[in-house]
């Protein structure tokens, strides 16, 4: 179980980005972290995975525990070794490596080379399209294929928890659906937990069991997905639905009156 306990993150000794964030991701659960641009979602993920340090950020207060062990002082390699894999925002593929090499490099920390082969097949089963493309240079793949590949690459490390950053970014809805159903499948079959950061709240809440909403460096709202979906604020701000559940017309946006009912 991943527990974030009141963490505070500061960039370059000056910029306070997270102001006391606490939440938890239970084993075997899919949680989602929602919020607008600049709310601090990605920073939260980086704080967990240890990538903050390479960007002059640090966790200045609070702690992050994973199965009872503190991980906020660890480097990214240590965190991955503990079983937490991160899929970075924007499909960071190793562009000069082939598809299969990309997947294999994801398993570089594992010693059981026999099972790696098996997991490779598992990823190919999950995304049959990738199998056809296994010898292609990954830099030339389409966005959807790249997103599937980086997700597969993270899975190759056999993680217990996957931190998934904006998987829907810039992708067609049908591919988003495909990716999220794969996430659901892995979650069911392999008991892998997920923490999904999304702006596409509707898609995320459809697969997630639990949701947290971030705004301005704080968790402002959380609850079961079903409850969040019904929450008026969520509907208003993240799904673009009006009071009656219909799509809002742009004419109404002009007369926008509603205020967020939380303190940012």
């Amino acid at each position: 179980m991943l527990v974030l306990n009141n963490i505070e993150v500061i960039y370059s000794n000056v910029i306070l980005v997270l102001k006391g964030v606490s939440f938890e991701v239970r084993d075997g659960q899919i949680s989602s972290l929602l919020g607008a641009n600049g709310a601090g979602k990605t920073t939260t993920l980086k704080a967990i995975s240890g990538l903050l340090k390479s960007e002059l950020g640090e966790v200045s207060d609070g702690n992050i525990e994973w199965d009872g062990k503190r991980i906020d002082r660890m480097g990214p390699d240590g965190v991955v070794k503990m079983g937490i894999a991160q899929v970075m925002e924007g499909r960071r593929v190793f562009q000069h490596l082939t598809m299969e090499e990309n997947l294999k490099v994801g398993a570089h920390l594992r010693k059981d080379s026999m099972n790696v082969k098996k997991d490779l097949d598992m990823v190919y089963d999950l995304f049959p399209k990738l199998k056809e493309l296994h010898n292609r240079i990954s830099g030339y793949l389409s966005g959807g294929e790249q997103q599937m590949m980086v997700l597969g690459r993270a899975l190759m490390a056999k993680p217990k928890l996957v931190l998934l950053d904006e998987p829907s970014l810039g992708l067609a809805p049908i591919i988003v659906t495909e990716i999220f159903s794969a996430v659901k499948k892995i979650n069911v079959e392999e008991k892998t937990s997920f923490l999904i950061v999304e702006q596409n709240a509707r898609a995320a809440l459809r697969v997630a069991g639990f949701g947290y909403v971030m705004d301005n460096g704080r968790i402002v709202l959380y609850g079961e997905s079903e409850k969040l979906v019904d929450n008026e604020d969520i509907r208003e701000f993240y799904m673009g639905l009006g009071d009656l559940g219909q799509r809002k017309s742009y004419r109404e946006v002009k007369h926008y009156k509603r205020r967020k009912r939380w303190l940012g």
């Binding site: 390479s54 562009q95 000069h96 490099v105």
Partner: protein, 294 residues
């Protein structure tokens, strides 16, 4: 025609040696994006360590070479750990300056330990030459060329088929993504410096066997190879060897056939060749094109 063939063969052999030295540059650039100007000094250290084993400790030459390699690996790792590690995230030019600082320091240490008098290995390669038709090619050059090609093959295999090689290539592609999948950049950097130092040591030993050792002129061979590296592409292993061969050929053929342009053209020709190639292909013949984003 005989002269032409002879010069081509010599050019190939010398070029392969250049290629081997260039490999050291490429390895470090691939892993860390650093152009290591102290490569000539790494070569010198390798060559002198082999000298210590083979002449001063009187160990048979091939055993001495075998003993030199682990020491070279260690030197590379130590340099990375104590000097280059602090340069992560600094501007490129500061990193270059760091390698220049290393260059000066290493020259100093070598001068201190071994002095400035020339030193000689015991005879390593047979002095006789092999004749193919009218072309004479010495065993020294054959060995040098053979070893260079051997090492290139080893590195190609290493980078293509081993896990460490894959990890190093991944790191050079995207450092942050590599971090995110748990690759320890520090480990990769120290590995690549160690391997580069080993390559440099082999290159140094070959050059030492060809022309002897001394602390004052030896480091120049490192800088002489710079056009080779940039011609082939800073991050291409086959590029290093092909660039080496091209420069080797240029150096040998130019004075014979373009000698009318004035003496010493063989020193200029590599630079002119590289300039022309770079204007057409800004990343060298085989270098990977970095996609520039805003």
């Amino acid at each position: 025609m005989d002269t032409f063939l002879q010069l081509v063969v010599t050019g190939l052999a010398v070029g392969a040696t250049y290629g081997l030295i260039a490999l050291g540059f490429v390895l470090i650039y691939k892993a860390s994006g650093v152009l290591n100007l102290a490569q000539g000094e790494l070569m010198m250290f390798g060559a002198y360590i082999c000298f210590v084993f083979s002449v001063q400790a009187n160990i048979p030459f091939y055993a001495a070479v075998a003993l030199t390699l682990p020491v070279a690996l260690l030197i590379g790792a130590v340099i990375e750990r104590f000097f280059l590690r602090y340069m992560i995230g600094q501007p490129l030019i500061s990193v270059i300056m760091m390698t220049i600082g290393l260059m000066i320091l290493m020259r100093g240490i070598a001068t201190w330990i071994w002095g400035t008098e020339p030193k000689v290995y015991p005879q390593v390669f047979p002095q006789e030459s092999m004749s193919i038709g009218s072309v004479n090619i010495s065993y020294e050059y054959l060995w040098a060329a053979g070893l260079s090609i051997f090492f290139v093959l080893i590195y190609i295999i290493f980078f293509r088929f081993t896990k460490s090689g894959l990890v190093m290539r991944a790191t050079s592609d995207d450092e942050h993504a590599a971090l995110s999948i748990g690759i320890s950049i520090k480990k990769v950097l120290s590995q690549s410096w160690a391997i580069a130092a080993l390559t440099a040591a082999v290159g140094g030993i070959i050059i030492g066997a060809l022309v002897g050792l001394d602390t004052t002129s030896f480091p120049q061979y490192g800088l002489k190879v710079l056009p080779v590296v940039l011609l082939g592409g800073l991050d291409s292993i086959p590029g290093a060897i092909i660039g080496g061969i091209l420069i080797g050929l240029t150096e040998n053929l130019v004075p014979e056939y373009l000698g009318f342009l004035g003496g010493g053209m063989e020193e200029l020709a590599p630079y002119i060749l590289v300039l022309i190639v770079l204007i057409v292909r800004p990343h060298g013949l085989f270098g990977l094109k970095r996609i520039e984003r805003i």
